[in-house]
Subunit: 597 residues, 2 copies
């Protein structure tokens, strides 16, 4: 069973050495957010993750959440952890002080999320879904709604959900059939059944605020005819006390591959009372407010699984004795060598390590852009918005797919023991598997990337990012020690742009071309983005080593991991580049009835 | 829940059109094995798989095998299926008629295994492990042992196990500590604890014959000091009736990621009475007799999962309506199009299909070699032995890794629904995950490939296989329609040989080079082997189409799938070729304490 230890040194390396977070926070007006405060937050966050959450990850999987007489019973320790989360202010960490939050930068929220996701991702839906609800109400709700609901959600007194999916309407939210009918008092009656509702019912808090997509009478068909409603589990009185139980019930919890501690609910709305959020038929925009926030978090789930599995596999590889090193006994006093001597075991560990640290660099880069979006000037905001738009689908899909790969490598390092539940490695595979599926499957992310984020703007967003990487390459062109990274990186960004143009050109003539190439293009983009971040990290490490500053072994490891990434993982782009250019014929030419006989 | 339907048309295509099995069987002296008989066996085998096994796959996962008061209770339907399996002669299908078997070719056993593994892999250990025990006794036991035990094992009256692993001795079987001490009567007392024993205890049959690796007093250290013993659960009387319960008990069943219906046992031997199989200290050779048989079967598990997941995903993709085709509504009368219109969904389905049919071609090719090994002349046997030696690790590791990939794609086609247990897609992922781990992890397979199968013979085995492929390319060099396959295939085998030489050359100077490159080399080998088989299948399909023979749409689909394979999957070799040549430095240079801080 891996015992999670927050990778504080690596987190601090990124915040302090790579991203100069101190300056970043000061420049954005977070006057109190200095290194001392950040370190204190990290230490406390790590403690919460390690002591309150890591300790109930396995039992959460074993016991699961259960529906008993219409009420959800969460696993032992889960409610206690939630109480601690609220009491210590984690619930409102990054939200406005006027609503009872701590007003801390979003980037620190991302760091905190990485830690709690690693420790116990099944527990975490309670927080992340509530955050989505807060953001949607904040962005689209009226002043009364904000004043009443946000303080209760921000403090965690009440929790929130996102009720989008129906059994026949998943990726295609335009098919939603749940009905909303106006009542005389300005409220609406909501009727329909929603599925896959994370924390749709639970025993953590007194009230649950459901944000529900539904269709008003006469609404246009498709996604432009859906509206968003706020539907409380209990109708609150004006003073916040709870009055009537609303007509929304949890009729079942889904049995799932993993994430068993998280109650994934079927919710029946039977004329439940709700209130419109924002304008009629404008639910899609509100949904994307929740969704974009959630997508970033889901990418972090992939990173968190990678880190946890790496930690578990590393400990095992140092302990487990099997066979001798190819170069002769490394531990002749023992009956066999620890398996970390074997090149293939190291290949697996280094793959996990390179993905974890590369993924962390990407997720935190995005987190810092969220700070800019909140507090930067107009030009900074524009740049941040562009970067977030481009990188969000990459971050979501690439980190989660790498998370699945890394978690499977973790099992593989354990050999047959990895398959056994008590070692905790297979749970990571099962828990992370959902992250490639929810909040838009990774195929949807890839289509978003090649469609809205590439073709729709003629490649402008990508070009802007490539210029940034090109600038980095130019700045370091004379650095001989860095040439091992800068040269392949330069080639990669050239090829990336050329591939983007292949896609954009072909998209004009063949509407299927983009879809056929989308996933390969996203993967390609992910590998090159990591290459950029690894080169940046290597440069910082090189500088520190040259200056003899800090823990030199740490910086040396950074450079070695960067080398491994460039030599062993970045080459995957070669195949992707060929494959994505194959065109749509080879996927479209087969008739439906030719798939099987 | 995917309902399994045996892919008889594809099986017959391979046997009849590609491999000319009829001629093959006749030439080897299987005089009664003609197409009519084969078709009858396939039809009955499919019926058994579909009616007895497919029907209890889900319940097997849900209920699992349980240890109750020291006895294993298997899930509903499992024992009934076992009875039918024995009564209908499947148990002894490919074993000698003198022992009560059917004497059918091993290749047909592989086909039958594919079907039952797809239908319910958790059930199948009872057969495959018994087969391993039969082979080991047959190859290494004395005549009395064979005469007494084989008829009872071949008919399925009793079952067998392979007891190799101990908690500290997995991949490194030389660390086995279980003790064997000679008794006065020529038998031995076996003491120790074995883990991960598939079907180590069950309620299917009256007696279980454990084949146990143990160490005699004064035996040499390591793998050359282990001996193999036959340890029955009940000591049989001379007439086969059961006398004393032997001192071997199942103390626990493992909780696992999947394969929950299969009782994976911890077995405690406490001075259990056993008999030596073969010579003292010669247990390793006997173990490999079991292991090689099992490895081929485990590869087939990967194929079987690929097929099952493909079938489930295909049905869903034809039914599920979400969004419109990129080219405009394909089913305007419906509220949305079936998702099979989307290029990325087709990419996933075609990947599954190409892996299933390519994997089938490889597994059956190997199956046919087993027939030759049993009945060919000396030269044929030598060729078959060489091919089996080379392809066994590729078949085991590549088919299982592709099985995991395909099963995950099947989940992905279902979107969020794929994560829900009732749809049965996630079970396939969990069930197939073990196949990359047991009977030698896929890393062990890769090391076997680059070590024993490549370097140890100076590349002779590989060169022989490449010459065969080169011959195929030469024979078809003038076939313009086939050039789309022959040209890239020719390049690939040239590169394969060149990479093999890079490995062999570097292995001399750097003992770590091989291990660092092993998995990439195996993957590379797998992709090119499939390319060869896909080109062969495309040639047959082309010939049939030209002749207007048979179901033309089927042959057209073969060519289209081959095109997809060559354009979208074979390119993965580009990255692997670069990555495997990176050398060992990038995996070995990091100190153990630099992996984490």
């Amino acid at each position: 069973m891996p015992t999670y230890k927050a990778p504080l040194k690596d987190i601090q390396f990124l915040l302090n050495d790579v991203y100069n977070a101190d300056q970043h926070y000061q420049a954005l007006g977070y006057s109190e957010v200095n290194r001392e405060l950040v370190d204190a937050i990290l230490t406390e966050g790590a403690k919460f993750a390690e002591q309150e959450l890591d300790t109930c990850r396995a039992i959460g999987d074993e016991v699961g959440s259960k529906l008993v007489d219409g009420k959800v019973v969460t696993p032992p320790g889960f409610k206690e952890a939630y109480n601690a989360y609220c009491e210590n202010g984690w619930a409102g960490m990054c939200f406005d002080e006027q609503y009872g939050g701590q007003g801390l930068p979003h980037s620190l929220g991302i760091v905190f999320h990485e830690m709690i996701f690693s420790a116990n991702v099944g527990w975490c839906g309670i927080g992340t879904l509530t955050h989505g609800a807060i953001r949607a109400i904040d962005a689209h709700g009226n002043d009364d709604m904000k004043a009443f609901y946000l303080p209760r959600l921000v403090t965690g007194e009440w929790t929130g959900t996102m009720c989008l999916t129906e059994s026949h309407a998943g990726s295609d939210v335009g098919l939603v059939k749940t009905k909303a009918e106006a009542n005389d008092d300005g409220s609406f009656s909501i009727t329909g059944t929603k599925i896959f509702i994370t924390q749709g019912e639970h025993d953590f808090a007194d009230n649950i605020i459901h944000l529900v997509l539904a269709r008003l009478p006469g609404a246009p068909k498709g996604p432009k005819g859906i509206s968003l409603f706020l539907v409380p589990k209990f109708i609150p009185n004006a003073d916040g006390s709870l009055a009537d139980r609303n007509a929304v019930v949890c009729s079942a919890l889904e049995k799932k591959m993993g994430l068993k501690s998280s109650p994934t609910s079927v919710l029946n709305f039977d004329g439940a009372q709700g209130w419109l959020i924002g304008n009629e038929h404008a639910g899609l925009a509100a949904m994307f407010t929740m969704m974009n926030s959630a997508r970033l978090d889901v990418g972090v789930e992939g990173l968190a699984a990678t880190e946890l599995s790496f930690q578990g596999a590393l400990e095992y590889a140092k302990d487990r004795l099997q066979m001798r090193a190819p170069t002769g006994a490394a531990a002749p006093e023992k009956e066999a060598d620890p398996i970390i001597v074997h090149p293939d075991v190291r290949r697996m560990l280094l793959t996990q390590k390179a993905f974890a640290e590369g993924g962390r660099a990407l997720a935190y880069l995005l987190g810092l852009q969220l700070d800019v979006l909140a507090h930067g000037d107009a030009e900074q905001k524009k740049d941040a918005k562009d970067l977030v738009a481009l990188l969000t689908p990459i971050n979501k899909a690439f980190l989660t797919d790498r998370g699945l790969e890394a978690a499977n490598l973790g099992v593989q390092v354990f050999g047959g023991h990895g398959y056994i539940t008590e070692h905790g490695m297979e749970q990571i595979v099962r828990d992370v598997r959902i992250s490639s599926l929810y909040e838009g499957t990774n195929g949807i992310q890839a289509n978003d990337l090649v469609g809205r984020k590439l073709v729709a703007n003629g490649g402008a967003l990508l070009r802007k990012f490539l210029d940034r990487i090109q600038g980095f390459c130019d700045d370091n062109a004379g650095n001989a020690d860095l040439a091992q990274f800068i040269q392949p990186l330069s080639k990669s960004i050239e090829q990336w742009w050329s591939l983007a143009n292949v896609l954009m050109t072909n998209a004009k003539d063949d509407p299927n071309f983009l879809g056929a190439a989308a996933v390969d293009f996203l993967e390609y983009s992910g590998y090159v983005t990591y290459a950029y971040l690894w080169a940046q990290m290597a440069l910082v490490a090189q500088t520190k080593l040259a200056a003899g500053e800090g823990e030199l072994s740490f910086y040396d490891a950074k450079i070695k991991t960067a080398q491994f990434y460039y030599q062993r993982l970045l080459p995957r782009t070669h195949g992707l580049a060929v494959s994505m250019q194959a065109g749509a014929d080879c996927v479209m030419s087969m008739d439906v009835d030719q798939f099987s006989f």
